[in-house]
């Protein structure tokens, strides 16, 4: 399959006050591929993907320069409808953060705030989302139980289902397995591989094995700078930049 560009980042810089956290990043992210962003803690990985759904708007005193083009729209522009954007670009967070509501209400929430009223449609969507998030079989008899009763791994898959129900084009994963055990991590990774058939996926991780396992493309960020970006297999075996090589071999990070 040909690579189609889904997200095009050009000359992107980001500031926390006067600190330049991202430095002139340019890269293309491809449709139906998994792109991993790796790098040491505090290098700007999360900051980077949180620009794709304008989540950094919530942080006062920040400023972005440059362009991020998603589906023909410069999403950093001033007139952009961020609500609409966030429906197109979903996000799964580092810590599972289900709402203190029932399992069903968690998944239907995105439709509820979109003012979807058709009960049958909502039920179908919830079931489909839970199935696609590989959670349905485990919880189908207790959809009305509180989401907080689920295990950490189940909660994270619920958060994925919640995100799928809105039918986004892109899903951003911000270290989705950071607080999960190896078995739950495996399930999430398998799920990501499954989901890329229908979605464009960007995943931040500081687990290099994970990046190697799930991603097609990998970008190495170091102190806000995009050091290297390319096909994962190549980046992990024959890195072009000496800093990438040092990071991969565990010299720092």
């Amino acid at each position: 399959m040909e690579n189609e560009v889904e997200i095009s980042v050009s000359d992107l810089s980001f500031y926390y006050g006067k600190t330049k956290a991202l430095k002139n990043i340019s890269m293309d992210i491809y449709r139906n591929r998994v792109t991993a962003i790796i790098g040491p803690s505090g290098c700007g990985k999360s900051t980077f993907i949180r620009l794709f759904n304008r989540m950094n708007d919530l942080v006062p005193g920040t400023r972005a320069e440059g362009r991020i083009n998603i589906g023909g729209l410069d999403i950093l522009g001033t007139g952009v409808d961020v609500v609409e954007l966030r429906r197109r670009v979903g996000m799964v967070f580092q810590k599972p953060n289900p709402f203190p509501k029932s399992i069903f209400r968690n998944v239907s929430y995105g439709l509820e705030v979109k003012n979807v009223k058709d009960k049958i449609y909502i039920e179908e969507m919830v079931e489909e989302a839970l199935k696609n998030a590989a959670l349905y079989e485990e919880i189908k008899d207790r959809l009305n139980d509180s989401a907080l009763m689920l295990s950490g791994g189940q909660q994270q898959r619920l958060c994925i289902a919640r995100c799928l129900a809105v039918k986004p084009e892109v899903i951003l994963f911000d270290e989705p397995c950071a607080s999960l055990d190896p078995v739950s991590t495996k399930k999430i990774e398998d799920l990501i591989t499954e989901l890329k058939k229908d979605y464009t996926i960007v995943i931040v991780t500081h687990n290099m094995q994970q990046a190697a396992r799930v991603s097609d493309y990998t970008a190495f960020l170091y102190f806000g700078e995009l050091v290297e970006y390319g096909i994962s297999e190549k980046l992990f075996t024959v890195p072009a930049d000496s800093r990438t090589e040092e990071y991969l071999s565990g010299k720092f990070g």
């Binding site: 953060n97 709402f99 203190p100 995105g110 139980d145 509180s146 907080l148 809105v166």
Partner: protein, 285 residues
Amino acid sequence: MKNSNISQKAGFFILFLCMFITLFFLGVLLYFIISKGINAISWEFLTSAPSGGMTEGGVAPAIVGTIYLTFGAIVFSLPLGLACAIYLTEYTPDNLVTNILRISINNLAGVPSVVFGLFGLAVFVKYLGFGVSILSGSLTLGILILPGIISASREALTSIPQSFREASLALGATRWQTIRKIVLPASLPGILTGVILSIGRAAGETAPILFTAAVFYMKGYPNSVFSEAMALPYHIYGLMMEGTFPEKQSQIAYGCALILLLMVLLISAIAIYFRQRQRRIYNGK
């Protein structure tokens, strides 16, 4: 080793003693009120108006008046205080201006209640022309408890993890939807705690209603928000200070005190029940 053990034991003992002293005084207070007030209470006391020059009959109009005034105060200050707290926590950044606002609100909580009473007299009774009425008294009490409601609501709102807000916004909810559907329901138990404390305060205050709402005696019951009203705290004050038959009247006063105490306890119990129920829902049980 031995020394630290002894000082630990001494520490525990002092803490225990402090707790015991506190409980002791609370117990004495309750015993005092109950033992002196219990004899006054009867069905007639609860349901009829005073008679015989304040030496006989009941205190029903004062009970009703206190309920009206407290209810009015909450109706007025809960929406206003909550809106104010939402605005301050959800819509304004944490900067100098909001800090000054927060400090001002906290200081307002420390203003003596008689000052609120004078304010109510000047603004509601005179300037706005509401007269000595339930409306004036409710508004004055409402302003009195407003800082408490705002502080408690703010605290409840800020205790909601940012991750809930982020999750909601990331799913394409607007800020207002996030507040209404996620933040407010989750912070309801904390807000209710503030309301409980405020109810107790509003029901028991005398000074704010002294010039704005309360009368020592009236015929019948208040029939509109512009009526004046009897109220339990003021009734107690009147019976003890202005009576001509101290013997009989002081017993009625203690009866009133006991009723006031029970009313506040009852309202608190109802609010606590709702708070616990809400907490159970939110903890997933």
